[in-house]
């Protein structure tokens, strides 16, 4: 009897479970009376329109290419010409877009290299006077020098001329910038890395060691001494 009761209980549980699951599925599928259904349809509508737009564009493109492909056998001289003009127009517009910032610099330095090759027979190597690298280095040096408020000429060219003319070489000073080493200063000022030892001995009273350079320190520049590789 009790076993029949438990059997009936199991059957009821199974029936109620299947009914519950069935009802849940029905409610999930149909969702009677809910407004989300309308929203879902709207969303699906917009999604459909956006999709149809893209599809329309693609269709147009395919139609256009199909038309041009159909048109090319009829008028083979017209469409290639129009394509060429379109491509040249595109190149022109791209060129004018690229032109203003970089082109003036490139134009100037191609002109400079032409002038150099016409006068000296060879274009300036990178880093030599007349090259873009040299110009950038000089520009950064000359823009740093007035910011430091130092009237004495710190530009390498001016120094090279001044030291070459040996007017008053002991009056020349150099203000140390970040990243400078004695060798780099000697190479920039004298064009000779061996002058770094003279640079250190001249400034021994303010420099404890050859690498104790701090930005803003003012070095006294010694007169150029012809070392192994003279200037």
């Amino acid at each position: 009897m009790t076993q029949a009761g438990t059997h009936q209980g199991y059957i009821r549980m199974a029936l109620m479970g299947t009914a519950f699951i069935g009802l849940t599925v029905v409610l999930i599928v149909f969702q009677p009376g809910s407004k989300r259904q309308a929203q879902v349809t709207i969303v699906s509508d917009t999604g459909d329109t956006s999709v149809t737009r893209e599809a329309g564009l693609l269709d147009d493109l395919t139609v256009v290419t199909a038309q041009s492909d159909q048109a090319t056998p009829k008028a083979p001289q017209v469409t290639p010409a129009s394509r060429e003009t379109a491509s040249t127009d595109g190149q022109r517009s791209a060129g004018t877009v690229e032109n203003p910032p970089a082109n003036l610099r490139d134009m100037t330095f191609s002109a400079i290299s032409q002038v150099k090759s016409a006068t000296t027979g060879q274009a300036p190597a990178p880093g030599q006077p007349g090259s873009l690298l040299h110009s950038v280095v000089q520009r950064s040096m000359s823009t740093n020098a007035p910011a430091a408020g130092q009237p004495s000429p710190t530009r390498a060219d001016a120094l090279r001329e001044a030291t070459g003319a040996d007017d008053s070489p002991e009056a020349q000073t150099y203000q140390v910038r970040t990243g400078d080493t004695l060798v780099s200063i000697a190479r920039a000022v004298y064009g000779d890395a061996n002058m770094s030892t003279h640079l250190f001995t001249t400034n021994a009273e303010i420099m404890a060691r050859p690498d104790s350079l701090t930005p803003g320190m003012v070095l006294t520049l010694p007169a150029p001494v012809p070392t192994t590789s003279g200037n």
Binding site: L104, R105, M107, T108, F109, S110, A111, I112, Q114, V115, K116, A118, T119, P129, G130, S135, S142, D157, A158, E161
Partner: protein, 194 residues
């Protein structure tokens, strides 16, 4: 009488306005010139090329700047360019220059001579100017002959003006007014610019 003249001039303006508008400009300011000869008025007009792109340049580009013809240019090439003291400068754009130019010419476009070019001092130092930023020294600067597309190319005279503004001595600048167009129109050979 005055009224008749006024009406006549007004009629001329109305009738001549479209004519003047159609006729090509000769210089930057004038589109036609009129003069009297034996009492009759004659006019100089221009058809075809119009001024904003092709303005007819004067014979003298600036005071102190000599104007060269083709034979003087050849002399300059034989003397100054050969001994390395002179440069024949083509101020046209590089694309035009590479299509063909006077033999020995160097392409330095007009844009690079403008004062707003931040790299102009590098260009001037390449032309032999000492320290173009602070105290420009022109003792070792090259003798230049400037030419453009033709006598109607304002770029060449603009370059001469820019050079004079930069302090370049007028005695070291000459102006080949004929330009590349007249050079090739005379049948003289051109070389392909590199």
């Amino acid at each position: 009488m005055v009224l008749v003249r006024c009406v006549g001039s007004a009629a001329f303006l109305i009738a001549g306005g479209p004519l003047l508008g159609q006729s090509a400009a000769i210089t930057e300011s004038e589109s036609s010139f009129s003069f009297t000869m034996n009492g009759s008025t004659m006019r100089v007009t221009r058809s075809g090329p119009s001024c904003p792109s092709s303005c007819i340049q004067p014979m003298r580009a600036a005071a102190g700047v000599e104007t060269f013809g083709e034979l003087e240019v050849i002399d300059f090439l034989q003397d100054s360019v050969s001994d390395g003291s002179g440069l024949l400068i083509d101020v046209r754009m590089p694309s035009t220059f590479s299509a063909g130019t006077v033999p020995g010419a160097v392409n330095v476009p007009v844009k690079t001579f403008r004062p707003d070019n931040p790299y102009r001092s590098d260009l001037l130092s390449a032309l032999g100017v000492q320290t173009p930023d602070s105290r420009p020294g022109f003792a070792d600067a090259f003798t230049l002959v400037i030419f453009g597309n033709g006598p109607d190319d304002a770029d060449a005279t603009a370059v001469i003006d820019h050079l004079l503004d930069a302090g370049y001595p007028a005695g070291k600048i000459s102006y080949y007014r004929g330009g590349a167009a007249r050079w090739s129109a005379l049948g003289l050979n051109t070389t392909v610019g590199q």
